[in-house]
């Protein structure tokens, strides 16, 4: 079933649904940082304390979806290139928008972003110093837990990192704008009367995700430049790259 051209599109759509859902949950999780150090540390600790099969089951499932999504995209694109060896002398479009034309480009950059992001905050290989950020704030039993609050502040106080995150989230926004509405088309659950509404909904979702993810790095940079302060001033000033 998945070997046909349409089958590959189903695979794109089905893995896409998982990832569309995941970014929302991830975003909702992130925004808890605005509720303070205790809230976000507790949330992160609770996630890390899930039974190993749930934690690793979800991680492997999500990673499999990303890999499958990217691999299928690669297979589709190479077939597409073969199908049209010579482009038109004059390349014009009547309807296709920026986001649909550059899905491959935005997807590739997002893939590199995911790798960077995992190395940055999850595996913490880029700055191993983050592993030493421990606190009892948000801990269920006064034992030391990872200080996610401080780690995120330290991470985003680096301007370059924040800019890379916000730019990547903008690309995610464009990727979702075409991706979400394409899910309905590829799975055949769209009709003429719903086309407009689904397109508005996917555009709205894309911007919601962009804003939701960008609030944190933007707020950190704003506090850094003294525009406004959302975060605990004491933790903020002590959160620098080297703890």
């Amino acid at each position: 079933m998945f070997s046909t051209s349409l089958g590959k599109k189903y695979l794109m759509a089905l893995t896409g649904i998982v990832l569309i859902g995941f970014v929302f949950v991830h975003m909702a999780g992130n925004l808890q940082i605005l509720a303070g150090q205790e809230q976000i540390n507790k949330y992160a600790h609770d996630l890390q304390s899930l039974p190993w099969f749930v934690l690793w089951g979800s991680r492997i499932f999500l990673l499999a979806c990303v890999i499958l999504h990217a691999w299928t995209a690669f297979a589709l694109v190479s077939e597409n290139r073969k199908a049209r060896p010579r482009p038109n002398e004059v390349e014009v479009t009547k309807k296709a928008g920026w986001s649909s034309l550059y899905m491959g480009l935005t997807g590739t950059i997002l893939l590199s972003f995911i790798v960077f992001h995992l190395l940055h905050f999850t595996i913490r290989l880029i700055f191993p110093e983050y592993n030493e950020l421990k606190t009892t704030v948000g801990s269920p039993d006064d034992s030391e837990i990872q200080d996610v609050y401080k780690m995120v502040l330290a991470g985003f106080r680096l301007e370059g990192v924040s800019v890379f995150y916000v730019v990547s989230m903008f690309l995610l926004c464009r990727h979702l704008s075409h991706g979400v509405s394409s899910v309905f088309q590829s799975l055949g659950i769209r009709s003429e009367s719903w086309r407009g509404r689904l397109e508005v909904a996917s555009e709205a979702y894309a911007w919601l995700v962009f804003i939701g993810f960008s609030i944190v790095p933007v707020a950190v940079l704003a506090q850094e430049s003294g525009i406004f302060s959302l975060f605990d001033a004491a933790v903020f000033s002590s959160a620098s790259l080297l703890p």
């Binding site: 349409l6 597409n80 060896p85 002398e89 004059v90 390349e91 014009v92 479009t93 009547k94």
Partner: protein, 250 residues
């Protein structure tokens, strides 16, 4: 009107092609695009040169034979129009027009602007037959069909198989054509008996022909001279998924 025409010339499928520029004067605004090309060919013949090969037949927008990409748009920039129904008054005096063949691996070039679109015939053939009583004419109202359904099937059946959908697609995908051809039968009661087999066979013929994959750009529908809706693609996706699931479970 005076025009500069940049036209793709290629002596044969295995030969290499390139653009050739011609000046054409005295073009009537009322002539069709193909009549303008006729005029150019007359001029080339008078100069002792080889005329440009291009496909044409009915010249009234219903046969789907004309196949020109004009300034990057299959059948030209006008909506809902075939090249033969495109009038020169839609262009400006002194304009340069780039005319190319429909470009897709599944449409091998024959000569100049002529491409071989028999891949479409193979997709249609893969669709097979429908089971109906032959012999004397059936009673017109023997099978009740709701008006919206027959209208929608007619919208799909309006496809003239010209290939503009493939030519407009950056991936040379034939989804709109296949969706229209499968859709007009899949929507009607007469098409139900062979629906799943038809859907699977047509998609497999489409893949075998070497067309690209649908990226949901919407360019095909925008280029379609018969305004075939993207809904038929959604329907083909749906029918194909259903047919596959049924096959899997049977």
């Amino acid at each position: 009107m005076k025009l500069t025409l940049k036209i793709w010339r290629q002596a044969g499928p295995e030969k290499s092609g390139s653009f050739e520029t011609h000046e054409l004067d005295g073009v009537s605004e009322d002539s069709s695009f193909l009549e303008m090309l006729d005029q150019l060919n007359e001029q080339l013949l008078a100069d002792g040169k080889e005329p440009i090969a291009f496909d044409h037949d009915c010249r009234e927008g219903i046969c789907g034979t004309c196949s020109l990409t004009i300034n990057g748009h299959p059948h030209g920039p006008e909506n809902s129009t075939t090249s033969c129904q495109l009038h020169m008054r839609k262009f400006k005096d002194g304009e340069t027009l780039t005319i190319e063949p429909f470009r897709a691996r599944a449409f091998p070039l024959v000569r100049d602007l002529v491409v071989d679109r028999s891949a479409f015939d193979r997709i249609t053939q893969a669709g097979g037959y429908i089971t109906v009583r032959t012999g004397s004419a059936p009673d017109g109202n023997a099978i009740p069909i709701p008006k919206p359904d027959s209208d929608s099937a007619m919208d799909a059946a309006a496809c003239i198989g010209c290939g503009a959908c493939v030519a407009s697609c950056k991936n040379a995908s034939a989804m709109l054509f296949t969706a229209a051809k499968a859709g007009h039968l899949n929507m009607l009661p007469q098409g139900q008996a062979e629906k799943d087999k038809r859907t699977l066979d047509m998609v497999s013929a489409m893949d075998d022909a070497g067309f690209g994959n649908c990226r949901n750009y919407g360019e095909c529908s925008a280029a379609c001279p018969k305004d075939i809706s993207l809904d038929f693609i959604a329907k083909l996706n749906r029918d194909h998924a259903k047919a596959n699931l049924k096959k899997l479970l049977s």
